[in-house]
Symmetry: C2
Subunit: 378 residues, 2 copies
Amino acid sequence: MRFLHTADWHIGKKLHGYDLLKNQQRAMDEILMIAKQEAVDAIVIAGDLYDRSVPGVESVALLNQQLIKINLTEKFPILAISGNHDSSTRLATGSPWYHQTQFHLHTTIEEALTPVELEDVQFFLLPYFEPIATRLFFADEEIRTISQAVLRVVEAMMASFDPTKKHVLVTHFFVAGSLRTDSETMIEVGGLDAVPVDVFEAFDYVALGHLHSKNALKTGKVRYSGSLLKYSLSELNDEKGVWIIDTDTPELTPIFHPLTPLQDMKVVEGSFKELTDPAFYQTFDREAFLHVLLTDQGVIPNMMNQLRAIYPNILSVERLNGHEVVMKERQQRLEKQSPQALSQQFFTDMTGSTFTTKQQQWLERGLAVANDTEKRDN
Amino acid sequence: MRFLHTADWHIGKKLHGYDLLKNQQRAMDEILMIAKQEAVDAIVIAGDLYDRSVPGVESVALLNQQLIKINLTEKFPILAISGNHDSSTRLATGSPWYHQTQFHLHTTIEEALTPVELEDVQFFLLPYFEPIATRLFFADEEIRTISQAVLRVVEAMMASFDPTKKHVLVTHFFVAGSLRTDSETMIEVGGLDAVPVDVFEAFDYVALGHLHSKNALKTGKVRYSGSLLKYSLSELNDEKGVWIIDTDTPELTPIFHPLTPLQDMKVVEGSFKELTDPAFYQTFDREAFLHVLLTDQGVIPNMMNQLRAIYPNILSVERLNGHEVVMKERQQRLEKQSPQALSQQFFTDMTGSTFTTKQQQWLERGLAVANDTEKRDN
């Protein structure tokens, strides 16, 4: 059989305040198109369907509509789990009805232990969970770390393995490092909240969600699909897409299919003069989400508004030069102010109001004590 | 066929801060029991399944579990709509899968126009909506009031009437008054946001939700079921329950089946001495939600804590006597205070902080102007 592996849709996520619903819509539609072109037998979504446990109503409408399209209109089986961003209880709404049409959405450890059998594959759908959940489920107080917890679950799964079938795990954890490396390395790479990759040895393929880069793991059969879109500047150079896995190939070698985003994320570097020159920007993808690197040294009045008039989707502007100068000036300005004025400013920034008489008195008293202590210590 | 009519479950609603999930669980289970005993062919839920558009996660878990029990375990068809307390979009999650097992949940005007046919009945499931929704749906700018809107929808429904079948409407509006009464009466009874009962003449039965009393309408075939529980003190004397409608009876005369709440809502009247006397309270249903009418005149120190030690679920305490005395004392106390002090007190009550110097100045200036004006006017 052939299946498509995607994860981390994060429907409803905003990028530096920009709404991404249209971008998400487009990317989900492209995934559906790939599924049709590749004639897959199932679509795996490895958690974080939503960005928040209580998604906005537009996000609910969008995801509902897309799942209807995939499963009811196009008749693709779906194998999905809840991730750490989803509320497993909220996401589970409707799930007992879904599997009538081969939409399997598992949100509990109990469900994870019963494999979904499609053709020659047993799929185990293990949602994100906290170690406490396995402690309760297995009534085992010894389970402390997430590694122990996942290992315990995998052992229970193996009891249901049909040796005539392939075994695929769909899950959503931070997988890193190896039990076999020395402990220092392991802690360095993953630490206590990481699951070592060896835990998954029994499976033929592990479809992961959680980390947003498809290259987060080097190993072959345990893979992240990466997220639906570039969701932070740190993902600037990631290539987003999905894996297609054919279980008839010897090593289940996944083939990557890239997605073409509605708006890309880019870095642009230059002086303010260069960036606002029509000769430059008229040939540039101005709709992209931009990280601007400005080479100017001096102050540019009304800079953001001028840049945004040309590049409407600026995420951030970084000053390559002159930044230290600005910071130094700011520091000198701050150093000239009294502790009273600084405290008042901070209080106003945080609360929007000014000190009451009583608060003012506390501050004065506190500063007096601090002064005395300083004098004494010197 | 026989169906059960219930509405206004308001899952997640709190009563004066008391959690009602257990009470709701019990009442929903009793409804299921009645449905089994009466061997109904469907269960109608006429809106407000949840109390809030974004229900708490425990409420989601409870309602999900109950709907699974009714529809998947006990195999009862469900005919449900969203009410004004539900988010139609959120509630619609899963609904395209639900009708595979005769769980029909309609949340849009479009869905409402296609009847659900069960045996000899066409059910039209019309969710709560605002007039603007019909203006857009019918592309008719003339629709202004909810009466016009519902009338327009009913006309569209009638085009799909199968004359060989009975016609039942399930909906969720404030139905009151009549088009035939003079306009003054109508406005008095219902007003602009009410739908006159005559609009529903074409139907054999109208299963309403919205008002919480089963006696809110006098007319026979247009009925409120009332809510699942007593949700406010104003419902103290309501009898809660469900209607069973048999479409083979000549007038579709509904039979009422009362529900026995886990905790009732009661009024208790007496002096503090009487109410705290074991001879009295040991024979009293102390677990009930209570509205206490105290006959005492004087001040009773630590009254609430002493009463709550005996009656754990007090909603409110009303002083039958001495109330005026207390109020008069309070008023006299207030009259002695300066406008400045009163303003400061009010500001602190509302914002938790005190006036800034600037605010103090504004107040003084304002009061000076007011004083001047008063002097001049006198």
